[in-house]
């Protein structure tokens, strides 16, 4: 039996990052540099990189190789899928979703951004803000990533020019404002040379802000979900027939045959024992009788915690139900309009039958209309616009109307990044088709000349009843 340990990491917190950049912006080198300079690269991994670098005839270890994952990518020298990297400092642990650029950029950036607290965008100092930067920032804005960091990389190749940096930072600030993104930060960096990544560079004396790692260590890490109203999707009903002995648990369960607990993760807000909540989609009210964990009962719990909640009422909940704050609970709806990022090779057209997975609920749905797609080929304009479309193709972002088989109490994504989100799933092969964000878009409203006539209709000939109840 090992002795009682002393806490080593104590109050270290967790921050989730996503990185995105165009090809050749040096993203892999930046990520490699962050891992390397925080001592998160261990010697055998480094040996491997040095061996491969030497074999390729490179003068020094190519840190980008640290993040090369699958064999196909190594052969082609490209990254094709989101990869997760881990590094830590005494203050924080970071989970970094490394989102490759080009081909699958929407799919990858949407995936990485969906859980990110911070998005780190890269530009090449020689090129400044480019098309891809605009697209990535638009996606981050759409997914409501709370913090945005722009890394102006390869600053060594513009002779550490303050003027170049300031111009790019100004362009980026304008772009961010036009997309409705609040605060952004820009840092001049050479990932290759290590300037301002972890250690402050003496070659940019004109820059007084934080290094990349300083920024990541100091950015506010209070999850935005904590400030939103309480939401608790019921995952699993716990009804033990008897109380099994649990010698490993800190707390002895007070279980009799009547124990009925609702297991789930608090998606947003906070909750207290004794507080009244609404049970959705039914709309009935109940009070919290207790918040149980094997570590002991809790007086209160916050977003992010997995707990077991008991109600002092005999109502029988099941998976898919949601406990919500009595203040402004989401109304269960059958008709839903949402922004959908389409992630599949097959296209989506009105009339399509899909599954909607929301929280712990899943229901059948029919696509009743596509109102338009987001035009991210921005050219000189910085604000994306919605253009008419009658289908969604891979990597499209569109406004989609859905009719649901059973009502879902779905929040607006603008206020609730978790309970406003859903995925679309193919009923026959189970593929994840799209990422949905309910309610008005974070970016812009659909502007069509005449909404009623421009909206494509579901082809009523093929689905005469349209699956409506």
């Amino acid at each position: 039996m090992p002795p009682t340990p002393t806490a080593v990491t104590g109050g270290r917190t967790l921050l989730r990052l996503a990185t995105a950049g165009s090809v050749d912006d040096g993203k892999s080198t930046l990520v490699g540099r962050l891992l390397y300079d925080t001592n998160s690269v261990l010697s055998d991994a480094l040996d491997h990189v040095e061996r491969v670098s030497k074999r390729r005839g490179l003068e020094r270890a190519d840190l980008a190789l640290l993040t090369a994952g699958l064999r196909a990518e190594r052969e082609q020298g490209i990254t094709i899928d989101v990869a997760y990297r881990y590094f830590a400092t005494p203050a924080r642990k970071f989970i970094l979703a490394d989102c490759p650029g080009h081909v699958q950029y929407t799919r990858n950036t949407v995936t990485g951004s969906s859980t990110a607290d911070v998005i780190v965008l890269l530009v090449d100092a020689r090129n400044g803000v480019v098309e891809q930067t605009r697209r990535h920032l638009a996606v981050a804005a759409l997914l409501r990533v709370p913090h945005v960091l722009l890394v102006v990389n390869k600053i060594d190749l513009v002779d550490y020019s303050e003027e170049v940096f300031t111009r790019i930072a100004t362009d980026f600030a304008l772009l961010a404002r036009s997309l409705g993104v609040g605060e952004t930060h820009c840092i001049p960096v050479s990932a290759l040379e290590g300037d301002n990544v972890v250690t402050r560079s003496r070659r940019t004396p004109w820059y007084e802000g934080p290094t990349v790692l300083d920024f990541l260590e100091s950015v506010d890490d209070t999850p935005t979900a904590v400030g939103a109203e309480f939401r608790f999707p019921v995952q699993h009903v716990i009804r033990p027939q008897n109380a099994p002995r649990a010698p490993w648990a800190a707390s002895t369960p007070a279980v009799d045959g009547d124990y009925r607990g609702y297991a789930g993760k608090i998606e947003s807000g906070r909750v207290r024992a004794g507080e009244e909540v609404v049970v959705l989609p039914r709309g009935r009210r109940a009070a919290i009788a207790g918040i149980d964990t094997p570590d002991g009962p809790l007086e209160a719990a916050v977003a992010g915690q997995s707990v077991v909640i008991r109600l002092n009422d005999d109502i029988d909940l099941s998976r898919g139900d949601i406990l919500a704050a009595t203040d402004a609970p989401p109304a269960p709806v059958r008709e839903l309009t949402a922004t959908v990022c389409w992630l599949a090779e097959r296209s989506l057209a009105p009339g399509a039958r899909v599954l909607v997975q929301h929280g712990t609920a899943i229901t059948k749905a029919i696509v009743t209309g596509i109102e338009g797609t987001l035009d991210l080929d921005l050219g000189s304009q910085s604000r994306p616009s919605w253009v008419a479309a009658d289908r969604l193709e891979l990597n499209d972002i569109g406004r989609v109307r859905l009719t649901l088989a059973s009502p879902l109490p779905i929040d607006s994504y603008r206020e609730h990044r978790t309970t406003g989100a859903f995925i679309l799933v193919d009923e026959s092969d189970g593929w994840t088709l799209g990422a949905g964000m309910a309610g008005p878009s974070s970016l812009a409203t659909v502007t069509t000349k005449d909404a009623s006539s421009d909206l494509p209709e579901a082809p009523s000939s093929t689905h005469p009843e349209g699956g409506r109840p």
């Binding site: 967790l14 990297r85 993760k265 712990t360 995925i423």
Partner: protein, 303 residues
């Protein structure tokens, strides 16, 4: 509403909560999950998390050990104790049985890790398991960095890294066709240090070979191999008694020890935190086979 200061969850609280959420999603949406258990530290942490996820009810699925027949005695003893401690039910798939009746042939190098694949896939098929919990972590190896939390396997147990479903928010999609199953990795976002910190914080028991002990070893190709019936000293090799511990448990024929004086969790954390060798590189001889060794085995349905 009262104005209280809300601290973000600590790293370990956040990781534990995420893992528990994953365990519950699987139990609620799959017909017949099973948890792979080797007695190794990651699988003990998995068992602990599973127990916490369903408390005060018992763990609602079986625990499966694919026994190579080359396990350290301490580990097998520990396995049975741990399964009883957490109130779980154990099933064993035995590589030795497969070798004895000719369904598998011993490899020339004597390594049995690659032989686990067939008994594992048979156990999954026979048990009609539609979800299989594994303790894999994304920080372990380059090929794992892109693994999903819910990872679909075809009827042959194969993983197709180029054809993975996108995984967004914490909305896990476990839909699969008959004959397919889903590998689920609740520890995806944990690092080796996180696992140790959690073992410390939760006072989780481990097999004794994780802590420093004296053992007869030989130094082979820079790796410390225990002298056992499976790995006897070869002609000309020098047997030494050293203070060693294991960073992973597994097939004796390809799991090496590291020199260590770490006798407590705190010692190990200090050692791991400062160590400059990744877990697999240090101790799994079979990962040295090729740069793409792990990717190959994953495609074949290895854990």
């Amino acid at each position: 509403m009262t104005t209280e200061v809300v601290r973000p969850l600590t790293e370990l609280q956040a990781l534990e909560s995420e893992s528990i959420h994953i365990f519950r999603e699987v139990a609620a949406t799959f017909a017949n999950p099973v948890l792979l258990f080797s007695g190794g530290k990651d699988s003990v942490v998995m068992l602990h998390l599973a127990a916490k996820a369903f408390w005060p009810a018992p763990i609602p699925f079986e625990v499966l050990h694919v026994d190579t027949g080359h396990n350290f005695d301490e580990v097998i003893e520990f396995r049975d104790e741990a399964v009883a401690f957490y109130g779980a039910r154990l099933k064993v798939a035995s590589v030795q049985d497969y070798i004895d009746d000719g369904r598998l042939t011993e490899r020339p190098d004597g390594t049995r890790n690659p032989l686990q694949t067939v008994p594992l896939l048979d156990a999954i098929t026979d048990g009609k398991h539609d979800a299989v919990f594994g303790g894999g972590r994304r920080d372990e190896e380059r090929a794992r960095a892109k693994e999903r939390v819910f990872s679909l396997r075809d009827a042959f147990g194969q993983w197709d890294p180029r054809n993975q479903r996108p995984e967004l928010w914490s909305l896990y999609n476990g839909r699969h066709l008959p004959g397919e199953h889903v590998r689920v990795f609740p520890l995806s976002n944990w690092t080796e240090l996180d696992v140790w910190d959690y073992i410390a914080a939760e006072k989780i028991n481990l097999p004794s070979i994780y802590y420093a002990h004296e053992r007869e070893v030989i130094n082979r190709d820079g790796m410390w191999i225990a002298v056992t019936p499976v790995t006897p000293a070869r002609e000309g090799e020098q047997v030494e008694v050293r203070s060693v511990r294991y960073r992973t448990v597994g097939d004796m024929s390809c799991t090496a020890a590291v020199l260590s004086d770490a006798t407590t969790v705190a010692d190990v954390i200090t050692e791991v935190g400062l160590s400059t060798i990744t877990e697999r590189g240090a101790t799994r001889a079979d990962d040295r086979l090729s740069e793409a060794a792990m990717e190959d085995r994953k495609r074949e349905g290895y854990f």
